[in-house]
Each structure stands twice: as structure tokens, then as C-alpha cells.
Amino acid sequence: MERALRDKKAICIFVLPALIWFCAIALFPVFQSAGYSLLDWDGVTKAKFIGAANYIKMFQDPLFFKSIWNSILLAAASVFIQLPVSMILALVLAGGVRGENFYRNAFFVPVIISGTIIAHLWLKIYHPSYGLLNMGLGAVGLDALQREWLGDQGTALLACFVPMVWQYIGYHMLLFYSAAKSISPEIIEAAQVDGASRFQTAVRVIIPMIVPMIKACVIFAIIGSLKSFDLIYILTNGGPVHASEVPSLLMYKKIFVTNEYGYASAIAIFIILECLVFTFIVQKIFNHIQKD
């Protein structure tokens, strides 16, 4: 058996298909992107090496900063609005209420539906004349608030954020919920025997014990926001006047609309690095919290 497990041919047969597939399609192209980012290239005419010029251009491009800023706003909103709401729901459900499973299943439904469908549905919700939102506002006498939510520079980004929260609140709720459920009941009972109320138990016992899950959710929320594409592509395509522009969308347009391959690659590399940096910062912050 020992010999069978060291059989070189078998090892190659088992590992090479996956390894080659992964390296050729996922890993190697990252380096290719890095290479492209140093070129002036439209995909048709001959590419020209221009060094860091694309990066210099990028850091002087107000549109690029606008898109980064928007994605950071989205990230902040998911961390400080979406996650707390998910956490409260998770704690309430995990604390045991009648219909716990029903609520959990219901909140989770939007998570599994394709972003494309959700975006088109919300296009209709935001429809200026026949949409659910303006109609609802009209019905309760708030006509003054009615507007073209996606067509208004002041509200477009917010209007893109709401469906994102709506879709993923159930996801984060589920993650917090399953972490809270995995705490041994004895610990929670002990706290309650000591006279802790439900609220105190949640804040002082459960939350500190699920810090690793909170860290994971913060990272998901941030990275998901920094890379957001589907919903915004359909809802506003970055408009009006780039009010809801985000980096992935900008990159996509540079590739398929204006054929600025080099510049688009520089943006792609920036997105990868940005995600790594944010992940690193969140890890550091949480290491600090976990030590205390």
C-alpha cells in the first residue's frame, strides 16, 4: 500500500488535471493582467509598452476616484447598516422564538435568487410612475418624497445599495445565526442562571463568542461591496453622470466599450490589491479585538 501511495504516475493523474486547469485559468491570468496594465493597447492594433503610465493616469482620473469612493461608501454601509441588522435578527432567532425556522427560511429566500433577476425586479420597484416605492409613498401622503430614484444623482447610489442589503441580509443573518447556534447551550444557561437577561446574554456572552464569524462577515461584506457589479450594471450602469460608478463597472466599460485594455488592467490590478489590503486591515483590527 505504501508503494501504491507513492506511485508517481497515480499522483500526476490525480492532481494535474485540477492543478493545470486552475493555474491556466485563474492564477496565470492575474500575472497576465499585471503585464497588460503596462501596455497601451486597444486589443486590435499593436500593443505598446508604456511602463507605469496607466497607473499614473488612473491616479489622476477623477472618475476612478469617484468609483473607488462609491465602493467604499457601499462597503461602509454594509458593515455599519447591513451587518448590525443581520446580527440583531440572528440573535433574536437564535434566542428561540416561535416560528424560528419559518423566519430564517423566509429571510434567506432572496439570497439564492440571481442578482440579475433581483436587479430587474427593483428596476420595477423604483419605476417613477408605476413602481412600488413611489406608489407606497403616495399612498401614505409622502408625495413630496417621490422621485426618479435611479435617475437622480443624489439618490442613485443609495437606490443601488438598498437591493444589496435586501438580498444579502439573510445571508449574514444565517452566518451569525449558525455561529450563535453552535455555542453550547450550557454556557448560555449558566449565564441565565447567573441572572443575565436575554439581552445581556446576547451582548456579553454570544457576541464575544462569535467574533471569528463577525470577522468573516465583515470581510465578505467589504469585498463584496468593493467588487459589486451585477446589480449596479443593470440598475444604473453607473449613472446618472457616473453618480453610482464603481470600479468593476468602470473596468468592464474600459474593456468592452472604449477598448482601453491597458487601463482596464490597471484597474483590475488595483481592485485585487485593494481587496487584499482591506482584508489585511480587518484581520489586524480583529486580532487586536480578540486579544483584549
Binding site: 500500500m1 505504501e2 501504491a4 501511495l5 507513492r6 497515480a10 499522483i11 493523474i13 490525480f14 488535471p17 485540477a18 492543478l19 486547469w21 486552475f22 491556466a24 485559468i25 485563474a26 492564477l27 491570468p29 492575474v30 497576465q32 493582467s33 497588460y36 435578527l89 433574536v92 422564538v97 423566519y103 427560511n105 429571510f107 434567506f108 429566500v109 432572496p110 439564492i112 435568487i113 440571481s114 440579475t116 433577476i117 430587474h120 425586479l121 420595477k124 408605476y130 412600488l132 406608489m135 435586501w166 439573510g170 444565517l174 452566518l175 449558525s178 468573516a216 462577515c217 465578505f220 467588487k227 457589479f229 450594471y233 474593456i255 468592452f256 483590475a268 481592485i271 485585487i272 481587496c275
Partner: protein
């Protein structure tokens, strides 16, 4: 004591109201989509925006299914997602077996390479893939190849964790009985991995079925379009015909919802697991 219990009751009621409110917020848009899929424009523009349809226009469904080729798109999505899942499961399981059980020097290093994939995303390689895959653009493979590549890291991570925790006795017994390594893999390892394979299958299903960026960029021909792109086109085509759009959106949602009804527990467990390990 009495006061405390009435207070408990009150917070209980508040809780129920809040939970029911959020349930409505989460489900109402979907209910609404379904109702306007059964209305005519005259009804919607005539003021019946939220209510149940007065005339149930089931014809919307027949029309959109036929005219917008939704059947074709659903079939394409099924092929792409099915093959993606099949390749992901078999290749990842094979690599996992080599990493965990076979004895070779680079196994830790190769595992590490796969794990770097957790940090990559399809966005980062959109352009290089578009350039490299020119020959297969506009076929099923334009989507399957990248979907598999990006599904494997999570799959391998989950499977390695599982296989490491499984005892080796069965495999040892099989070797003693004279089975060769391929048989051991196929007849012992694969069945042992079944629960985690189903988790990976669910995760892969959701990401492949719902993916949009590559689907839009890499497939433009009518013949191979997936449902996400098909829905996009359909909405563009019918722009103001709400009933047809609603019907199309509902048809596109049904397969996932159907799956959810039967597998909600497994789907939630899978997504939670995928998150914990990632």
C-alpha cells in the same frame, strides 16, 4: 414575578411584529413580481399596481416562454451549471485525494497554490480570459472553463478538511484485498465524501447559475446564452410590457426557488459551511 411575565409578553409581541414586518419586506417584492406577471399593461397602468390581478393573464407566460426563447436559455443554464458541477466535483475530489492521502513532497505546496484562489475573483482575470479564450467564446466552454477554475479552491478546501478527518481503515483494507489506487478512490473515497460533495454541488450551482459578468461578456450568440443573460435581453426587448417581463423573471426564478423548497436546510448549511472555511 407577574410584572416580569407581562413585560416578557410585551417584548414577545414587539419581536413578533418586527419579525413579521421583515418577512413582508423580504417576500413582498417577490409576491409583487408574481402578481404583475399575471396582469396586462392596461391593468397596471390603470391603477391596479399592488392588488391581485383582475384577469389572470396566464397567456403572458406562454408568450414569453415561446417568444423570448426562455426554454432554450434554461436548457443552456442547465448544461453549463451541470457540467460545471460535474467537473468541479470530480477534479477537486481527485486533487483532494492526492493532497491528503498520497505521499509526495509538493503536496503542501500544491494545496497552498489552490488556496491562493480564494483571494482571486473572476473580475481580476476578465480581460486575459477574454483574450485567451477567443477560440471557445460563444460556446458552453467559455463559461464552464472559468466557472470550474474558480469553484475548485473552495471545493478543495472543504474536501481536504473532510478527508483529513476520516479514518483510513477502509482504504487500508481495500488495498490489502488487492484493489488498486483508482478503485480505492472511486469505490471508497468518493462514497465517503458524499455529504461534502453535495455541499460543494450546492455552492457551485448557486454561483454558476446566477453568474452574470462572464455570461454577458463571453457569450453573445442566441444559441448558448444562459438564463441570466436571456432575462436581460428579454427585459430590453419588452421594455414596457410589464406582464411579459414579470412572467420572464418569474420563470427564471422558479428553478432556484423549486430547489430551495426541497433543499432549504442543505442550501443554508452549505452556504454557512462555505463561509466558515473561506
Amino acid at each position: 414575578m407577574k410584572r416580569r411575565s407581562s413585560k416578557l409578553k410585551r417584548t414577545g409581541t414587539v419581536k413578533t411584529i418586527v419579525l413579521l414586518f421583515i418577512t413582508v419586506v423580504q417576500l413582498f417584492p417577490l409576491y409583487w413580481m408574481f402578481t404583475f406577471s399575471l396582469k396586462s399593461n392596461r391593468e397596471i397602468f390603470g391603477g391596479n399596481i399592488v392588488g391581485l390581478p383582475e384577469n389572470w393573464e396566464w397567456a403572458n407566460y406562454a408568450k414569453v416562454f415561446e417568444k423570448a426563447h426562455l426554454g432554450r436559455y434554461l436548457f443552456n443554464s442547465t448544461v453549463v451549471t451541470g457540467l460545471t458541477i460535474a467537473f468541479t466535483l470530480i477534479l477537486s475530489a481527485m486533487a483532494t485525494y492526492a493532497i491528503v492521502r498520497l505521499k509526495w513532497k509538493l503536496s503542501k505546496f500544491v494545496y497552498f497554490i489552490f488556496l491562493t484562489g480564494m483571494m482571486l475573483s473572476i473580475h481580476a482575470v476578465l480581460l486575459p480570459l477574454f483574450v485567451n479564450m477567443k477560440p471557445v467564446l460563444d460556446t458552453y466552454w467559455a463559461l464552464i472553463i472559468p466557472y470550474v477554475a474558480f469553484a475548485m479552491p473552495t471545493a478543495i478546501l472543504l474536501m481536504v478538511g473532510t478527508l483529513e478527518a476520516l479514518p483510513k481503515e477502509l482504504e487500508e483494507a481495500a488495498f490489502i484485498d488487492g484493489a488498486n489506487i483508482y478503485r480505492v478512490f472511486w469505490q471508497i473515497i468518493m462514497p465517503l465524501l458524499k455529504p461534502i460533495l453535495s455541499t460543494v454541488a450546492i455552492l457551485t450551482f448557486l454561483s454558476a447559475w446566477n453568474e452574470m459578468m462572464l455570461a454577458i461578456a463571453f457569450v453573445s450568440g442566441e444559441k448558448y446564452k444562459t438564463i441570466t443573460v436571456g432575462v436581460n435581453d428579454m427585459v430590453g426587448k419588452y421594455s414596457t410590457k410589464w406582464g411579459l417581463i414579470g412572467a420572464g423573471l418569474t420563470i427564471a426564478t422558479i428553478p432556484t426557488l423549486f430547489l430551495y423548497v426541497f433543499l432549504s436546510k442543505n442550501i443554508q448549511k452549505s452556504l454557512a459551511m462555505g463561509a466558515v472555511k473561506g
